[in-house]
Subunit: 322 residues, 2 copies
């Protein structure tokens, strides 16, 4: 406990190694990690948390690198948390044209960390949320969350952000179609990256048309054209991010949004924890195996089996009994 | 109960109105719906269940219409369950070039149903699974599940299928990137629809390259080029679907896959049911509100709050206590 206390203190003092250690504990599902988050949680809430989502290959890592540079020039400290397994941040980012990311590895004002995709999405998003809280507690002014977000899989993670930026590239047909069809949630800011592509204007028009049909209350979603590799459009993107933040504060919706986010996080943590518990028990407990056998043999339907499992866990679920 | 019994009997006899009524009950979360599934469940397991996934605009509805025609010519009965809110199946499919779908509405061997996206994905996938079971019990030879599946959001639903078909179109950059990056799971069959597009061959090569890097045990994922509007390639697709089915049966992996699917379904049902219960209680129970207040005021961290909620539910979760 003395160790934990000093780890917490060092983390709160902004010590990078303490932060790295804390995130590893959380990632390893170590009880000390949970205890650490509990201890430092009262000191969270000051960071500006921005989620940056987009398909693999949309160039969001390069864009994040450019954002980091911009934020550093404004003398803000930054933490990047990548949960895109295909991101250069996740892969070391040391070679070729990725060299531009490495400049930040030497800057003490920048903390970069990726989370391995541990298959079980529940486990991953749990750990990610805790890691983001640790970055916040460590006094980082800006926390950038990089997620894949082709669909809504990472929705729990992105839920943690005050501002959500969706990065598209000309040719990323699926995401635009998904936006258009109302299948994907409208983000706060849309970036069209690689904007030197000849189809850029067509795409911008298409997105604008889609947005004009969506219900927009107060905040009008801006479309920012960038060429992240050359840093073009990054300043405008930062302006829009700040404008969105101001909008939230002016409307008093920041606290409302955070309340909703935290509520969703608590729910997600509770359910994913139960799911992991059930999965573990299912592997070990012959009673569970028998239940599944009955389902496989079509003697017991899945919903009734689910109800019985919840009952075994002590959860009363009246709606199961009919 | 007499009513229920006769509804079950009529459904098992293949009565379309009984099937429609049963699905409505399930969709409305009516206890009679759950009871109905429980009653007919022993008679499920005979249908060939195929999941057809792809971004909005990939033409999967048109492809499904062509598949339905093909399967009808082979004198098989078909049920289509669409959970893509942007699908023509979901939107009535009565006008313009959608007329081709309507031919099936008059055919008693075809049953088409869409599920409204009810926001809560948990609730939706629960209802979808139950609806698919009812279609199976009603004696449909083929059950086709249409899902959006840009990402992994519908993963619980697609889990129900024996064979998963991913529909891409030239220009659907995001999905190919997601496959390439290992972010999206490799399906059993890949369709490149709208194959009159000049970039078709480039895309096929790209997919082939991606597949060659993925671990493939036994089954080699075929790439089928189609032009669904003209029915081209549909026969080949059906052949591949049958071949995949045969492969599963020959390897004895069909029962293994179904066991895994059913196990995942039971888990998903248990957790989504708990989540819905928690959400309902959270709205009504002042104790929950206070817990969230504490989290919002940074006095209690989200993970501890989640643990307390599970404890309130009677779930012992030792890993919460540290």
């Amino acid at each position: 406990m003395t160790d934990d206390a000093s780890l917490a203190q060092r983390l709160l003092d902004g010590d990078r190694r303490a932060l790295a250690r804390g995130i590893s504990l959380v990632e390893d599902d170590d009880p000390q990690g949970w205890a650490l988050v509990r201890e430092v949680y009262p000191r969270t809430g000051s960071a500006t948390v921005v989620g940056i989502t987009g398909a693999p290959g949309s160039g969001k890592s390069t864009l994040i690198a450019a954002l980091v540079r911009n934020r550093r020039e404004a003398e803000r400290t930054v933490a990047v948390l990548s949960i895109d397994p295909s991101s250069p941040f996740s892969q070391g980012a040391l070679l070729g044209d990725r060299i531009r990311l490495t400049e930040h590895f030497l800057d003490r004002g920048v903390f970069i960390r990726s989370m391995a995709n541990r298959g079980a999405l529940g486990g991953l998003s749990e750990a990610t949320l805790q890691a983001a809280l640790l970055m916040d507690a460590a006094g980082r002014d800006d926390v950038l969350l990089e997620t894949v977000g082709v669909g809504q899989a990472e929705v729990d993670v992105i839920d943690h952000a005050d501002t959500v930026v969706l990065v598209l590239v000309p040719g990323s047909g699926d995401s635009v179609q998904a936006l258009k069809a109302g299948v994907m949630e409208i983000p706060d800011i849309i970036v069209v990256n690689k904007a030197d592509h000849p189809l850029t204007e067509t795409m911008v028009r298409e997105i604008r048309g889609t947005l004009s049909l969506a219900p927009q209350e107060g905040w009008r979603v801006p479309i920012v054209k960038t060429q992240a590799t050359r840093g073009e459009g990054v300043e405008e993107l930062v302006e829009k991010m700040l404008a969105h933040r101001e909008h939230l504060e002016a409307q008093g919706t920041l606290s409302e949004r955070r309340r909703r986010n935290l509520r969703n996080e608590v729910l997600a943590l509770a359910t994913s924890r139960l799911r992991r518990k059930l999965e573990a028990e299912m592997r070990e407990d012959p009673g569970f195996q028998e239940l599944i056998d009955e389902v496989v043999e079509r003697r017991l339907d899945p919903a009734t089996a689910a109800g019985r499992i919840l009952e075994r866990e002590g959860v009363t679920s009246p709606e199961v009994r009919t």
